[in-house]
Symmetry: D2
Subunit: 276 residues, 4 copies
């Protein structure tokens, strides 16, 4: 079995030595290894892909003893993670994930797609995936979110992918799924925060449009950025043209970010990401 | 002699027919022709490169008669334009223009470089170009700007290039050189408006940084965008690394935008540009 | 009804005038107009989007009289074109088109997907689209192609999209569907022509990989290029990683090129394209 | 003093442990650390930035004892390297380096610029840098190269930068400066190998042009690739327009690759590079 070992701790002399010594004593094969030190805040990050026969409970225990108290240590098996996808009406991001899923390219089990509209049911059910509609009609935001939380919790997902889920999330929701929510924002953040960024971009006369995949935290559109990309546009683009062209960027950026999360490659700190 | 004919007018049926008829009657060769119609605001834009023997005063007169009253018509010869460059301390944008100039690649006469520091004098004078320092030390912004205006006016430039001129401009200055000022902003506008955008970008943890060349209008960083580009960065970049990498984007974006202006390819309307 | 008028002819003075005069006399609205002249070979290209009430047979006749004999004139209505998609085993390009189709974003009727393997049947039939398998097992290339031609002809497509159809095409096939075949090549042509370009690219140690959408002509991978794009890679990529990352480029480049063809925006000459 | 330690060796279990143990015993600070293992060929690469007080001769000796026999170990101080630049007639790549040099941004001492034409003398001498013309007029390629070798050897450079030096190099020259020659090729290798790649690219009708920085080995344009980038072009570009636009890519790609070499970040093996 292959495991990914992720360590985040305060930097100190000899960390690599101590950790690599322990892994050597466990007689593990190190398939990949990457480290990063942020000297400014004195933080050490390490991601190691290990194989071999070992007692992973004991390894975690030994690592905890070895490392400073406040360290975060994660030992994640290379298996498909359970995910739930949230959507509203647009098919491009969801569709891109579904096609990867159907081709066996996605390292995840899609437990369900949950949406606040019925529009995407037909597409999702084509792929034999459960579709749940939690309509927001006639409900307060709070009550709707409680129903969403309940629906999501049924599937116990390790990750929630907002594939153009067009509802603002309350702190309660975000807190409930802390560090588990991936969003695609249809602009090159931090430009054009808020509603209809393509129209904003068009009005501003930009020559580039982009998309941003990020973790969701309390502030809308302000979470740690995982991936971004852009394409060039010109005066010939109406805002609808920008939106259509932007969809290609959105779906690729979201799929790339999702792959990074499924491979346990992303650390979060100081509202930023380190990707190893 | 080659001329660029630029027409901006209200759109109406038969415009291309009328204009091309006149040019045909003048027996002109049309080397290039491009049109754009913004259906939303009913505006027609046309740029035509013409050669041949003709009376350009008469042509302009005939065009004015032909077209609606509020039309803007410009007939610009394909000759080197006189420009003045403003700078402060950084050499990369200025240096890129100087190298192009020295190689004969720049379609402009650099009449002078005017800066508020002495630092770049040595570099500029290497190229046999006049360097003028108008220090802001001990002066109010208003008085410094009056001196800058006076210094610039001496050279009667058709275009003023802000090659990392790090001073905010007052409306008086902008109005005095209306539609003549090209700026490079060291970020992907409209993100990170204001001071030290690289530090802002680094703090936000972005995965892309960019630069924007734009006309200067009253609002700082809010003028019509001419050109933008970006590069990918990651967590390994300190903000100084971002700044250094960003310099490459800045200088290329500025030089590209400058080329577009020197070729009379840029129309301004509604705080946007049409580039034909 | 909206029509796209495409004209390709030898350049001569007054062409725009003559054509725009005729369109004016027909009282047509010109929604968009673009021209291009290749001075080297003296060729004139024009694409005009027109609306209005008119007799299109008469307009074509009048244009033919007006223009030099060897002109190519095409008047194409803004309606969905019938297309057939060819595939083999890979789902990413096909899947991207299917999702667009299901969302109503594709300006085409997919008449059928024809493949030489059964693998993609399940995916295609999910979308209610006819899937035809023409297996090449035990057949000569010639006989297989004859069966493919026969199968395709049933649907009378205006355009054939090779969405990762991994068979070399004989001249007979290409001639039968002259200027109707769009292919996606999984490399940045003209680099890595031939089999397994990702393995070739990886062995060469490139830092960029790309994809090319092009018309198919007699020479394999040598037809007129319509669209290209690239992504950056590094030493961490195995050739399988390159292939997986390349799939994103392939599907976006193919979809973009397909959009251009469906909008009648592509001219072919001298083994190149002009895109207006 | 800061040193970069570069290790290339056969991979075996415990390498990181052994090396980090030694560095820990030397009480060194590890500022940065990166490793890469190519599992296919069983090669291990490591780059570590170390600071502290230590005997670097002894450290090298200890590392040699620790590591397998055929290991390559390099301990390079963080000081400016001596470089010589070769050029012919074009100023853009050379000029970009000169501006960085004059601004204090280049981590190198330019000992001389050596060219086979006089054209660039004026530009180089503006910057107070020695310019040597070794004309090839009337000389065989062999004799000219011998004179070039002699001229270069005078300056004992650690690195030779071909900034658009338009002469084919013989194996003798390449061998003499083994793994010390950086070249910029004006195309996206391996496309358009050989003379006038922009004309080749234009004739092929490509939609993207690029540049490649690589080490020079015996085969022309076939050395290990360090850096590549591209820009989009379209049918409006003549081959001269492509060349002019391509110059921006060339100079940025060359400067980026030069930075990587000056920072000792590039390993070579199997005609590829690993960049840590």
């Amino acid at each position: 079995m292959e495991y990914r070992l992720l360590i985040e701790t305060n930097d100190e002399k000899g960390l690599v030595y101590k950790i690599s010594k322990l892994l050597f004593e466990y007689n593990l094969n190190i398939e990949k290894n990457a480290e990063y030190v942020d000297n400014e805040v004195n933080k050490f990050f390490m991601r190691t892909v290990i194989t071999g026969e070992f007692d992973n409970v004991q390894l975690l225990k030994d690592l905890k003893e070895l490392l400073p108290n406040e360290s975060e240590i994660k030992l994640s098996p290379n298996t498909k993670k359970d995910i739930v996808i949230l959507a509203t009406k647009e098919a491009h991001c969801l569709g891109d994930i579904l096609i990867r899923y159907a081709s066996g390219e996605l390292e995840a089990n899609i437990k369900a797609v949950i949406a606040n509209h019925e529009i995407l049911r037909d597409l999702v059910e084509k792929f034999g995936i459960e579709f749940v509609c939690v309509s927001h009609e006639g409900l307060t935001r709070e009550i709707h979110e409680d129903k969403m939380i309940e629906a999501i919790d049924t599937y116990e997902p390790e990750l929630i992918v907002l594939a153009k889920y067009m509802r603002i999330l309350n702190p309660k929701f975000v807190k409930h799924f802390n560090r588990k929510i991936l969003n695609i924002h249809h602009s090159f953040l931090p430009a054009f925060i808020g509603a209809n960024p393509y129209k904003q971009a068009w009005q501003r006369g930009v020559k580039i449009i982009g998309a941003t995949a990020h973790y969701v935290t309390d502030d809308l559109d302000e979470g740690p950025i995982i991936s971004q990309d852009v394409i060039h546009v010109d005066h010939n683009y109406s805002w609808e043209n920008m939106r259509d062209a932007g969809r290609n960027v959105e779906k690729i950026v979201l799929s790339n970010a999702l792959n990074l999360l499924l491979e346990d490659r992303v650390f979060i700190y100081n509202n930023k990401t380190v990707i190893l």
